[in-house]
């Protein structure tokens, strides 16, 4: 059964269909949200919030984009709303990141550079970090990011450019070492 059939069922109040839809997309949504908030408890909360909103607004989904894209938009919207509501998140991020980040996964590259990059990424303001995470780490297009953040594509590109410039500037010394 594909997403369209499950969506039709969920719209009609079929909870089994809704559950299958949830099972299919929740892990990816949770991972995306965790990338943005860096805390499991918050990631669970926002994931729940995302699916509650999604099921309540399912009638608004017109099938113009993939369901996963629409769902990710709802997820990012939930997170951004949460960011505004929970200013304490940012202060928690540094210590939580330290606990949740895998030290070395065997990925090629300079470990020192990667560590510094992670640190600098954490230091970026939220408006710049989110586009970097969505574009460079999660692989979304600027069009999708624009829809998720409710900003023009050009703004998404400009923020990404500014974020990369700041990272480049901050990491200049690392390469020199």
């Amino acid at each position: 059964m594909d997403d369209t059939e499950l969506i039709t069922g969920a719209r009609a109040g079929d909870r089994t269909a809704a559950r299958r839809l949830y099972d299919r997309h929740a892990p990816r949504v949770y991972r995306l949200i965790f990338r943005l908030v860096g805390e499991e408890e918050l990631a669970r909360e926002y994931t729940q919030d995302t699916f509650v909103k999604a099921f309540q607004r399912l009638a608004q989904y017109r099938g113009e984009s993939a369901f996963s894209t629409w769902l990710h938009s709802v997820a990012v919207s939930s997170v951004m709303t949460g960011f505004r509501r929970l200013k304490r998140v940012r202060s928690r991020e540094a210590e939580l990141e330290e606990a949740s980040t895998v030290a070395d996964s065997g990925v090629s590259g300079d470990p020192l550079l990667r560590q510094r990059l992670e640190e600098e990424l954490e230091r970026l303001p939220e408006r710049l970090r989110v586009p970097v995470v969505l574009h460079d780490i999660e692989g979304f297009t600027h069009r999708e990011i624009g829809e998720m953040l409710d900003i023009p594509q050009g703004t998404s590109k400009a923020r990404l450019f500014e974020a990369r410039a700041r990272l480049r500037e901050a990491l200049a010394g690392v390469v020199a070492e």
Partner: protein
């Protein structure tokens, strides 16, 4: 370090940056989602009753007091000085208006009581849209009556017209989820009972 180095470095973070240490508790999360997503919306369409019924009851009470209290006072011989001095309509002239108004009050009360009783039993509400439309028409007749109507009473009638218009738009057979909302009528019963007492103490027709 150039742009390409940054891009490559960020790409390498895909596998390591902020990856959840444990898989999400899907079942536990689903319980909350199911409870909130599939229970709450069913109540939303009938939220109007929480607003309309209390308002309607208050308007009816206000109307009743405005119409009946002066007559109760008159029975006790307490005629306000300005009322006695002012050139007012005679009892015979006011009688038709009072009779219609009293009947109107009784019917509005009956409508509210019906809605409250149906909801209290948790059964689908047997509701007559014609009844509401009829009351709405009566409201408009009272508003257009040539008999003098006090400004505050006219304002109440105008508000009540709006309220009854909304009730008249209620579906012929509201779905069961609306029933619980009319629990608000429990709060109104005291109001309606008081209104009934006023009506009982007031003759519906003049001799």
């Amino acid at each position: 370090m150039n742009e390409r180095d940054i891009e490559r470095g960020l790409a390498e973070l895909k596998e390591t940056w902020r990856t959840p240490g444990t898989p999400p508790p899907l079942d536990q999360m689903w319980e909350t989602i199911e409870r909130e997503a599939f229970a709450a919306p069913a109540r939303t369409p009938f939220h109007w009753t929480r607003t309309i019924l209390p308002l309607a009851a208050m308007l009816v009470l206000g109307f009743g007091i405005g119409q009946i209290a002066p007559r109760l006072g008159a029975k006790a011989g307490e005629v306000p000085a300005e009322t006695a001095a002012a050139p007012t309509q005679s009892a015979s002239e006011a009688a038709p208006f009072v009779g219609v108004a009293t009947d109107y009050l009784e019917r509005v009360t009956a409508l509210l009581v019906t809605l409250a009783n149906e909801s209290g039993r948790g059964q689908p509400v047997q509701y007559s849209a014609n009844q509401a439309r009829d009351l709405l028409a009566t409201t408009r007749l009272l508003m257009d009556t040539p008999s003098p109507v006090e400004p505050h009473l006219r304002a109440l009638l105008e508000d009540l017209e709006l309220v009854l218009a909304q009730i008249a738009r209620l579906p012929a057979r509201p779905e069961p989820p609306d029933v619980y909302l009319i629990d608000q009528a429990l709060d109104q019963r005291e109001v309606i009972s008081r209104l009934r007492v006023y009506l009982a103490e007031t003759p519906t027709s003049q001799p």
